[in-house]
Amino acid sequence: MTPAIWMFLAFVVATLGITVWAAKRNTGASAYFAAGRSITGWQNGLAVAGDYMSAASFLGISGMIALYGFDGFMYSVGWLVAYLTVLLVVAEPLRNAGKYTMADLLAYRLSPRPVRAMASLSTITVSTFYMVAQMIGAGALVKLLLKDISWITTNTAIVGVGVMMVVYVVFGGMLATTWVQIIKAILLMTGTIFLSALVMKHFGFSFERFFDAVSHITYLDSKTKLEVTRNFLEPGMKFGDAATGGIGKWDLVSLGIALLFGTAGLPHILVRFYTVPDAKTARVSVVWAMVIIGCFYILTTFLGFGAATIIRPDHIVTDNMAAPQLAETLGGPLFFAFISAVAFATILAVVAGLTISASASFAHDFYSNVIHHGKETDPNSEVRVARITAFVVGGVSIFLAIQLQTVNVAFLVGLAFAVAASANLPVIVLSIFWKRFSTTGAVAGLSVGLLASIVLILVSPSLMGIDPPEVLGTKRHLIQMNALFPLTNPGILSIPIGFLAAILGSLMRPEPEAEAKFEELQVRAQTGLGAETASSH
């Protein structure tokens, strides 16, 4: 047994203990779906940060900075500033007007059944893309980390993550999922701070020496096989004109739009605001999350630039492994084991958070309100359906992750953000701020936004392109044709399309009942009158 396995097992045992504790306290729907609205501001801040700092951020961003320098850092910036959209626009009205899901806000003054059905579909789509990406990442990570243990393969790793997340969600509900997230966030921050400190120690704790080294990195270029010296602080290595033929700067703007508006539409982030007692706590938790996430992303510079200077880009095995590799170089096998276990715990926690938001949406929006018209004869049946859904979601995502394990992970996460930004965000914003927003508008916005983002990605250079015959396997494009849409990220076009569909739909089919209820929604959203309160049991 390697130290990595021991550390990972310790995390599993600790989190199962939390699940047992949470299972005893799970009485009733509000306890199961919203942790009894008992989570405090700093706890929820850590949980929001935990949900957000996925494997894509920790492994992906540090790898991207290690290989592309400054351009990789652009992701970090977008991911933090996006929280201002959450803080200023979405968090408090959502908490005041809703109960368990994003659709609660939409259904408040619109016709509940069509709106909830579409919102549920879009929630499950976003969560599934995101989840499959995380599970593929887990599989790849485990295969690299534990290659000397023969029975651990990509598939057993994916199944293991799938089974664990189902256990957390089915037995522990939102309370267990939240605490798993909190512990993981603390572990991840500790690991990141320690690794950054080791990087600075390598440079004698001198920022001058550190940045000097970053601005002169000499390595073998992977394309030309020639030794080059580059300044990794300079923009353009990934999105610059020389690297992309001029289209990269548009991609950078499009990516920025998707990040800035996608975060406030991610269902697993939005459900977190129902776990706190009131809108004020929701606000405090966003601020906590912003402090933690901001520090984390600034530290990714040290991990990424550290890997670029200390390991050098031509010695980094794969881009997603730059951070663990740096840990091994600077801290030895034990620290490598710790960082790897943290990365794995990160995936596990994020996957659990996604599962609970998908199953809450199915049980609350689709089962209770679409099929049963919102007449809950037995509130426990909603919880039962959510538990069954968690099993199904677990099974489906294990299957999809095994089938799709060669698909690029960043592409799947990008898809999740693009769908969230194009389908969910327009209808959330219009529902809060626009009196004439109607059911037709919401259904049009959700469905057209969903469709536009998926279609634009299908015809983007991520999936379409003509490869020379020597390009094989996962590097080959899925569709051997010239891409119809030039950008890898669809946000710049699909988000306006989502907004436009929602606005046109509302103008074409106005809804006097929805307009009449706008005042009520506004008073409730802005003053908190009538908002769901913490459960007394």
Partner: protein, 111 residues
């Protein structure tokens, strides 16, 4: 649908007509709208400057640290500052909302 825990006679429309409530909405709008426009503009200034004026952003400012990295770093402090100001303002709005709700419940039928 949402079970509103307050009874059906909840005086939404009476609150909506109160001048204090209108003042609360005005005060929120007066901050949130310009603040949102500002942070969106500040954020997109970075990819636009980096994408269209890369030579300017490559200029070193402090030792080897260039304008692009400093601007990117400043985005974090911009986000934290706006969040801080928002929380300060929101504290006042909470107080205003509390007063409106308290007045409403103390004299529920003054119309």
């Amino acid at each position: 649908m949402n079970q509103i825990q307050t009874p059906d006679s909840t005086p939404w429309s009476r609150i909506a007509q109160r001048p204090q409530y209108q003042e609360l909405l005005r005060s929120k709008r007066a901050f949130i709208l310009p603040a949102s426009l500002f942070f969106v503009a500040y954020y997109f200034a970075l990819p636009i400057l980096v994408g269209w004026w890369p030579e300017m952003m490559k200029k070193p400012v402090f030792g080897p640290v260039n304008a692009a990295y400093l601007f990117a770093l400043s985005e974090f402090f911009m986000a934290w500052t706006i969040a801080y100001i928002y929380v300060q303002k929101a504290g006042k709005w909470d107080e205003q909302a509390r007063q409106i709700l308290a007045e409403e419940s103390s004299k529920p039928s003054n119309h």
